[in-house]
């Protein structure tokens, strides 16, 4: 993007930016943060909320693993264990992983990458954040009020039976409200991508991060309302005995599973697509090359978004669904594997003949490729009908989705956090600490979840508070891995805090990247650009920007 000449008709706008300094220092005081409509501040507020949720979810994860260290009662009773794994699921899915990349990093960088001053509906963006907070508070209230122990899937008739405490009502209401936060973010991103692109930024020049956010936004808008109606029906079923999922009233519990998974499978693509989106940016910057097969990678994001709506039945192969329905879903599930494969192959092809620097963000991107391919390939086991009959609802499934969600989205999120930390905070972080925490996270994660594949194939069912003696060794290994993972995250948190307090000031383009977001000041000014940018090249055109050279060493 060439330095934009100050054109006359934009003069009216530039005088508008009389605020000096960057978006952090432009205005100060609590009110300026809480009532901001600046997408960057809203992104930061989301980031803080999302990291707190990750901490809470992580604590519950460690509680689960500690309980499973020994067979029998280790530290809590069966009912408490059921509550803990339910809360681990709900907090991680609804409070952390769905808003993490789109709402935190997406809110911050989408407008900058598009060359826009802000998202299309800034006030809607702030409303989305407060709706998210309202949902989170209701979820906490639900936890305090009673014991939701239905699993994050709320399967009826267990969740709707009168014996379940009222907290299912609270959680249903909180999920209903948090769904709107997701919908509003989606609507915002779609309108921004369509209508707020800088002049010259055509669809085939969009950064792949924007393509990923766009595909995620489409899923968020089209899938989340079905979760809203599912949760509303569950709410009414429990409150007034609607009888729609109650077998005693002619209802059908399997229909609830259809309703739930029609949202929840696209939701897992809401989780993984942003992870892939971040990896595109990191791999391009740290191998100094455009992404190989740009349009194929972009279209595979959109393909994943659309195909994601056709395959929800593979969560229900053993649920009593008719054999015909099961077969159709199994066939379609294999189609979904292809776009993921295309992305992996294109990323590896991007590394060919590049100048690869192994700075910490790149470590996370490479780890993403390795772990996500394991996650994706184990999906093949679960898509094949006869093998899934044996593996469904066992620890094999737990390992599969942790490899995709933690190995994929969380590693991608951490990579993005490391990559854009200087841009967001204007501070550098200590590279050595980053590598130490990466190694711990990588080793801990694999030690925690690789044994669970074997646990699952040997027949250990999911959500078991107590297990037979034969599974003890693998559970112990998995618990040790979980603790190492926890230590890795603690060190990473310390590193980021240390960077905030004592970190060195970051140069304008610390990674010498050709990405559009690095073309403004670091940290960016209140309205992102002093003059409106004119885009005249692709997002990773290192051929047109030879002056950037290679990634500097830190």
């Amino acid at each position: 993007m060439t330095a934009p000449a100050a054109t006359a008709d934009h003069a009216a706008h530039s005088s508008h930016d009389d605020h000096h300094g960057n978006y952090l220092t432009a205005t100060s005081g609590l009110k300026s943060w809480l009532l901001t409509v600046d997408h960057k501040r809203i992104g930061l507020m989301y980031l803080v909320a999302v990291l707190l949720a990750f901490l809470a979810g992580g604590v519950f994860a460690l509680l689960i693993r500690t309980e499973l260290l020994f067979p029998g009662e280790t530290m809590m009773q069966a009912h408490t264990y059921n509550q803990v794994f339910t809360l681990h699921g709900i907090i991680m899915v609804f409070l952390f992983i769905i808003p993490s990349i789109p709402a935190a990093l997406g809110n911050f960088f989408l407008p900058i990458m598009l060359g826009a001053k802000d998202v299309a509906f800034p006030k809607l963006n702030l409303a989305s954040f407060y709706i998210y907070l309202l949902g989170a508070i209701l979820a906490l209230a639900g936890i305090v009020v009673g014991s939701v122990d239905t699993g994050w899937t709320f399967y009826t008739p267990y969740s709707s039976s009168p014996a379940r405490s009222a907290s299912v009502l609270w959680l249903a209401m909180s999920v209903f409200i948090m769904g709107f936060s997701s919908i509003l973010t989606g609507v915002n991103f779609i309108a921004t991508v369509h209508k707020m692109r800088a002049p010259g930024l055509t669809w085939n020049r969009l950064p792949l991060f924007v393509w990923g956010m766009y595909a995620t936004a489409v899923i968020q808008v089209l899938a989340t309302p079905v979760l809203a109606i599912t949760v509303l029906l569950l709410f009414m079923e429990k409150l007034v005995g609607l009888g729609i999922f109650d077998p005693r009233m002619g209802g059908d519990p399997v229909l609830f599973q259809h309703f739930f998974w029609f949202y929840s499978h696209p939701a897992v693509y809401i989780m993984i697509l942003p992870g892939m989106a971040v990896v595109n940016e990191i791999i391009a910057t740290f191998s100094r090359r455009k992404i190989f097969g740009y349009m194929f990678v972009a279209m595979s994001s959109v393909a994943l978004a659309l195909l994601g709506f056709l395959v929800w039945g593979h969560h229900m192969f053993t649920s009593g669904m008719s054999e015909f329905g099961t077969t159709v879903f199994s066939a379609l599930t294999f189609l979904v594997a292809i776009p993921s494969g295309v992305k992996l192959f294109n990323w590896v092809a991007t590394l060919y003949r590049g100048q690869i620097s192994l700075a910490s963000p790149m470590l996370y991107a490479l780890a993403f490729i390795a772990l996500f391919s394991i996650g994706g390939l184990t999906g093949l086991f679960l898509g094949t009908l006869s093998v899934d009959i044996h593996l469904h609802d066992t620890y094999f499934v737990v390992a599969h989705f942790h490899y995709v969600m933690v190995g994929g989205t969380v590693i991608g999120f951490l990579g993005g956090l490391h990559y854009w930390w200087p841009k967001m905070t204007g501070k550098l972080y200590s590279e050595s600490l980053a590598r130490v925490s990466f190694v711990l996270v990588f080793v801990g994660f694999n030690l925690a979840f690789m044994p669970q594949f074997v646990l699952g194939s040997r027949g250990m069912p999911r959500r078991y508070y107590d297990y037979l003696e034969q599974f003890h060794g693998l559970h112990a290994a998995s618990t040790v891995g979980a603790y190492i993972l926890g230590v890795g995250f603690v060190i990473m948190a310390y590193m980021f805090v240390q960077s905030l307090t004592k970190g060195k000031k970051s140069p304008a383009n610390p990674w010498a990247s050709a990405g559009f977001e690095w073309m403004t000041a670091t940290p960016p000014s209140l309205h992102n650009f002093d003059e409106d940018p004119i885009i005249d090249r692709g997002p990773y055109d290192y051929d047109k920007t030879p002056e950037l050279g290679n990634v500097p060493k830190y």
């Binding site: 669809w203 079905v226 009233m249």
Partner: protein
């Protein structure tokens, strides 16, 4: 939609907003009323499964009229029509693939509303009390809500 190289402001400028004449609105409204009366009339003629088809076709025609002329999709950016059709398509996928399952499941008695085992004729456990029987008007007084006793063995045996 590919844009020319130097498209100003990324989003295309829509031409002056289209203002339709009064007669168009009244005409469309008239057709809508006629279609409503038609669909009510047809509902009294017993045509078996065809009734559902006709009702949906007429409703879709009315919906198309409202969407194209009252919501100006006819003169609007084609992408908005794509959004509408996409949403309806996804709703359709949801219905069809769920029907894939529910239409081919093990035997269900259409009138009685529960599942029975063909071999034993016995209702599946967990079916409701009084499943299978017709419900008569109790002729009681003001809307008494006496609840049919949910059969004993259907509550969780453990109170928790």
């Amino acid at each position: 939609m590919e844009h020319t190289e130097h498209q100003d402001h990324g989003g295309e400028d829509s031409h002056a907003p289209h203002i339709a004449g009064m007669s168009m609105y009244l005409g469309v409204f008239g057709i809508l009323i006629v279609l409503t009366l038609l669909t009510v009339a047809i509902s009294y003629v017993h045509l078996g499964s065809l009734n559902l088809g006709i009702a949906i076709v007429i409703a879709t025609m009315k919906a198309a009229l409202v969407v194209l002329f009252f919501m100006h999709l006819w003169w609007d950016d084609k992408f908005n029509s794509l959004i509408l059709v996409g949403a309806v398509l996804f709703g359709g996928v949801f219905l069809v693939y769920t029907l894939n399952d529910t239409a081919f499941r093990t035997a269900v008695d259409p009138e009685k509303g529960a599942r029975y085992s063909p071999a034993t004729g016995q209702w599946a456990a967990g079916s409701g009390e009084g499943v299978g029987e017709m419900v008569r008007a109790s002729g009681g007084g003001h809307g008494s809500h006496h609840e049919p006793a949910a059969s004993g063995d259907n509550e969780g045996s453990e109170q928790h």
